[in-house]
Subunit: 376 residues, 2 copies
């Protein structure tokens, strides 16, 4: 929460939930990443918050961009990034989308299997590809599935296939899991990456880049280490596994870049109990799982919530959204502590909501509009 | 799948996933409900599919409308419904939204606690309210939480409170759980409703309506009983619990009205394995959890999928969406059987997708547009 956001909300007159993002915080975050990992190029993960204001700011600061689709490539270009600063980082791409990216000048593509390599080779000849490998995601708060990446031993074959088809077998990428609270999580993946570098060299292929992915956390309820700690720990791991031949590296922060820059203001619509004897109250907000808080899925991300009655005694509440969908409940298995004096009409502030909120929101579910977003 | 949808898709030239809804099927479903429960008024659950074409058709057939928000009330009015055919069925409403609904002429409101009754009494004086009671949702495929409704013993107090505040204590509502495959599920809830009717009468309040809710299933992979069976079983339960003093009844079908009217055409973007020895292939589509298939959350709803290679031997696949989100996986715990010969570029048809798809889709997640929708 910043003074600028506080001042904006103080004078706000319109109705409904709103996300306010303070661009000064984004600027500070970018500078912190650049300083913590001075030899690493920063590719902002556009999907975290693709607002033109965020992209333009980051483009002007010199950031590169990790994109998930042609639409995101177009947004990065519109924000002033040149094509050589854009990575098409989705391992799942239609061949005609790869062709469009190539027409835009993009030459850096993620792959995790031979079929994807073949698509790139056909319509983006000579491009650089990096192969994503699987990580177990231990220590991350947002679930990491096996959706992206292949087993490390397969990556060598995938990169060799790329090399044979005339592509530049550029390197390795991995993702240690979003909202990764353990800086040591990079160590194991870097050990795999180094092994792939050696095995590829044995086959005559010289890899040069390790994409360290994202995963850098933002502060929700629990404390997280600072960017500096991540930088130092990752550098140690690079040194440990690559010795004095440290490859080019890139990082893809998303949540870590914009998460703590945003605050959602929401209103308490109803406070009720299910029976006279119920211990736990239900608190219903005008925003829920389908309005921007999708990351409360399985109660994964636990946001910090400020109320106008902080300081009053707390009691556990089930927190739910405003739609007629019984799945639209944010915190129930582990109820959320809120002031006992909380009332209908109170305005709450949900902190750390600058990433993965607005663009997740449903287009018109139950007739509710998508989350309004202001960048200041 | 109907001939009209097949013909539409045959001549389609644009790219990306699309939902095609056949309005003739919606018409048939409406008539089947009207016939199966001839003394029951049908309130279509607008949230299931609020497309103007669906609402206009149902309005012309004489349907009433169950709405979740002021926006849905406005859509129902725009489609030709008069305000006396609209219920504001969300138990979670801002007081100013109740006031707007009242200005539009709406006089029927859902409540499940005294605080909500007080809002209605203040800004919608004299309106009819029905109190929603909790159901356990056993037999339903979509999870039913305790989000809506109160314990039956509390409902009498809620309705008495409404009566005292000058509202018309109209009746009881419940929901047996969405995609409810057991027609007998209504029996237990009707027993509670009848008990509340008796208790209210003892307190001098004469209730007259039971809202039987939705829950009527559409056919996905498993067989479901027909509407006729539901109608007969529910009527038996009404007779059993209310004898020859059967109250006015309404139903709120959503999924059962539009689910089987829609088919999504999607494309296979990638087929891959995570290692050479993996038994299970990953099949990635150009639609996923954030593009309209939100109801695959926790693998709840299992759609029937047709491929151009049906008839070939099947093998288990993990089915995932196209976004860079590791949670965007539809079926993994229980892999989906698809033809072993399935290839990148194949067009698949996801059946039974007329309800709870298009409006759930994210506004722009990963740069992907919301689900395109055509009504024919």
């Amino acid at each position: 929460m910043t003074d600028r956001i506080r001042e904006f909300l103080r004078t706000r007159t319109d109705d409904g939930p709103v996300l306010v993002v303070d661009l000064d915080v984004v600027r500070d975050n970018y500078n912190a990443f650049a300083k913590a990992l001075p030899d690493t190029r920063v590719f902002y993960a556009v999907k975290a918050n693709p607002a033109p204001e965020v992209l333009s700011l980051l483009a002007s600061l010199g950031s590169c961009f990790d994109t998930a689709s042609v639409a995101e490539i177009e947004m990065a270009l519109a924000a002033g990034a040149t094509a050589d600063r854009i990575s098409y980082g989705n391992t799942i791409k239609k061949e005609r989308d790869i062709a469009r990216a190539y027409q835009y000048g993009v030459r850096l593509f993620a792959v995790d299997c031979q079929a994807e390599v073949e698509k790139v080779a056909r319509v983006a000849p000579g491009s650089k590809v990096f192969c994503r490998i699987l990580c177990d995601g231990a220590g991350a708060e947002w679930p990491l599935s096996r959706k992206f990446g292949c087993e490390p031993q397969m990556a060598v074959d995938v990169l060799e296939h790329a090399h044979r088809l005339g592509l530049s077998a550029h390197g390795i990428s991995f993702h240690v899991g979003s909202q990764q609270r353990d800086p040591k999580a990079w160590d194991k993946a870097l050990a795999s990456a180094a092994a792939i570098f050696r095995e590829s060299a044995d086959r005559g292929i010289s890899l040069s880049m390790v994409n360290l992915g994202g995963g850098f956390p933002t502060k929700y309820l629990k404390k997280v280490p600072g960017v500096k700690t991540y930088g130092a720990t990752i550098f140690q791991a690079l040194r440990k596994h690559f010795g004095n031949r440290i490859p080019d590296t890139i990082i893809e922060p998303g949540r870590g870049m914009v998460g703590n820059a945003g605050v959602i203001e929401t209103e308490v619509v109803l406070v009720s109990k299910k029976s006279e004897t119920d211990k736990v109250r239900w608190v219903y907000l005008d925003i829920g799982k389908f309005g921007g808080l999708a990351e409360t899925m399985d109660e994964s991300i636990r946001y910090a919530i400020k109320t106008p009655r902080d300081g009053a005694p707390l009691e556990p509440c089930v927190l739910a959204g405003p739609t007629c969908d019984s799945a639209d409940v944010m915190y129930e298995k582990e109820p959320y502590l809120l002031p006992v004096s909380l009332e209908i009409g109170d305005k709450l502030l949900i902190e750390g909501t600058g990433a993965y909120t607005a663009t997740y929101s449903a287009v018109a579910f139950n007739g509710f509009p998508p989350l309004k977003t202001i960048h200041i």
